[in-house]
Symmetry: C2
Subunit: 409 residues, 2 copies
Amino acid sequence: MSKFSTYFLMEAKDVIDYVQEKLSSFFPDQTELACQEIGDGNINYVFRVWDKQSAKSLIIKQAGETARISDEFRLSTERIRIESGMLQLEAELAPKLVPAVYLYDDIMHCFAMEDLSNHLIMREALIKHQQFPLFADHITTFMVNNLLLTTDVVLEHKQKKGMVKNYINPELCEITEDLVYTEPFNDYKKRNDVFPPNLDWVEKEIYSDKQLRFEAAKLKFEFMNNAQALLHGDLHTGSIFIKEDSTKVIDPEFAFYGPIGYDVGNIIANLIFAWANAALTITDSQERIAYLNWLEKTIVEVVDLFKSKFLMAWQDYATEPFAKEDGFANWYLGKVIQDTAAVTGLELIRRIIGLAHVKDITSITEQNSRIIAERICLTAAKDYILKRFFVENGLDFLEILKKSAAKYL
Amino acid sequence: MSKFSTYFLMEAKDVIDYVQEKLSSFFPDQTELACQEIGDGNINYVFRVWDKQSAKSLIIKQAGETARISDEFRLSTERIRIESGMLQLEAELAPKLVPAVYLYDDIMHCFAMEDLSNHLIMREALIKHQQFPLFADHITTFMVNNLLLTTDVVLEHKQKKGMVKNYINPELCEITEDLVYTEPFNDYKKRNDVFPPNLDWVEKEIYSDKQLRFEAAKLKFEFMNNAQALLHGDLHTGSIFIKEDSTKVIDPEFAFYGPIGYDVGNIIANLIFAWANAALTITDSQERIAYLNWLEKTIVEVVDLFKSKFLMAWQDYATEPFAKEDGFANWYLGKVIQDTAAVTGLELIRRIIGLAHVKDITSITEQNSRIIAERICLTAAKDYILKRFFVENGLDFLEILKKSAAKYL
């Protein structure tokens, strides 16, 4: 009887045994395997396993029965089926933009995948003010291929409904509904975590803004009900491994059928956090301007390349009979861009005043700089939400950010 | 080994054996059972079984592996699980407004339910120009309770997602997507069935209307993607048994999570077919005016009672934290009413020029009267779709019908 025929939460030494039993062909010349837990996410356990001689390596990711960050979140281990299934689907739809999956185990609720230790976590790299000229191109291919190609525009509709069913993801969606769409707007569950010097400002500008809360309510129902495409569901710069010539998106355990703009808006918002970090922490003005220029160009390109690739893929892959109706693709995409603007604003707000912060902002040590960085993001956020119906292209996104920045810098 | 341990399509004599084996307690004093196939729908087989002495009776409904109307539609027998499950859920949410279910059998793909032979099929009764003063009250209770109470406004969101999953209904939704949302607008699959004297008119007014087709395309995506509430999915007057003091909704095999307005709009459109029938076939003017008055009052009441009960139930049952936000219920309901107007138009069009007609119209024997009845419905339909954003209440619905009628009568 295998040690792994009943579920338990593995430690590093168990993972070595596991790999020797289940993945012996991966390390054919193994002399001695080593293993280390390297996870730093909020939810799961991540082990790196390597052969000390050949340096060949892989990753084992296992789900616990509660979230790693807090026992308060009890979570179905179902999320690991969703994550490994998604990675395999994404590898088909957008080759080379996700890590390869080697094995999925529905007893141990774990899977084995490609080790990306030669890449950096994008958020860390952006905080170090590194540039990735291919990022906009890579991430827009990833999004267009995974999003448009799983909609009713492209998929046979019965097959799409089967996919909706397969990726119903109640517990992870609940986290998003609470943390992104509800709590930030009135500290609903008293879990918000506002930087103390900005408390009064947030009270006045966010909690007291009834129109903002009203729009958030509408957008929450859009998030919960609009089964448009199979989303990654947590597409921020901490879910992206990157190096100069390669971008790999990880951690799709939040995947479900939702509005396309949710993924795109998360990318834009997290580029804006990097922008705010750079604007407030790079002291050399020439260096600062150069880095901000690259980030601004990237924000504009993410929107505009997404749009142009989306329309090209629509031409190539649409099967829905109405899809070729004059103007329909543009109408559909226009709505996606409005949703994107709204989510950009929602993500900016929740990461600054909600429970889960981003290091781009929290690592700004000078108090006045952090106050300003937060207010730039929050002021822009309100425009992204309230003026979303006027946002059409990359420059419109940039203009909102620059207008807010001009107010404080 | 029971004869019923493997699925087969039953005939009347098998049904008697089935009832004797599975429902012996229902006919405790049985002397002799009789059985007759009484189905007249497009999809399933319906048997009435009665005790010749006591006259006690019940209905057995069984699914075949193709639709009854045409072998072209191959359908999963899954629909009978959905139908019997829905009837039981509806009985909880809206007591007394559906037939009681006695048994569900997932081997024989059939279920047993209350016999409603003392009721009339509402469409037949309306063609005979009978009035049902309690109908608007009954059907609005049915709709508000089944629809609002299965949304994210009321249900805990994880539970709601479980329901969405349970009622994913690809094959039946495909029928609606094809017959209601696609084929009528350009004879897409060449299955439309237009009354020949109206062919040129339909060519000019429907097929050539690019704006109408564009709106239909948008609405099709709304139907496919907006998982708002658990719909009946086929709520026309042929799915309603009625008598003076009782209304019972049957045939929920099209149930799935979709936009609330789909059910409400089907009710309104089918009342309009009855109106068109009465306007063109009742020769006595006093009698005609009286009947049209009752139908007009009913159309207005269905919309307005739906609205007022919806807002009351929202007050009583909403659990979503944003639901009590000032004005949010009215915003949400306003959108439902616009969707209702659009579906009213779609149902009017597809029942007149699509594959599946209604007897209200086809039973108008005088050719010129039928031409006029159809044009009244189709002209109103275009307004319901194209002007839906201006439709707010029952009188707005009535005004569109009356304006169209004034053009032709």
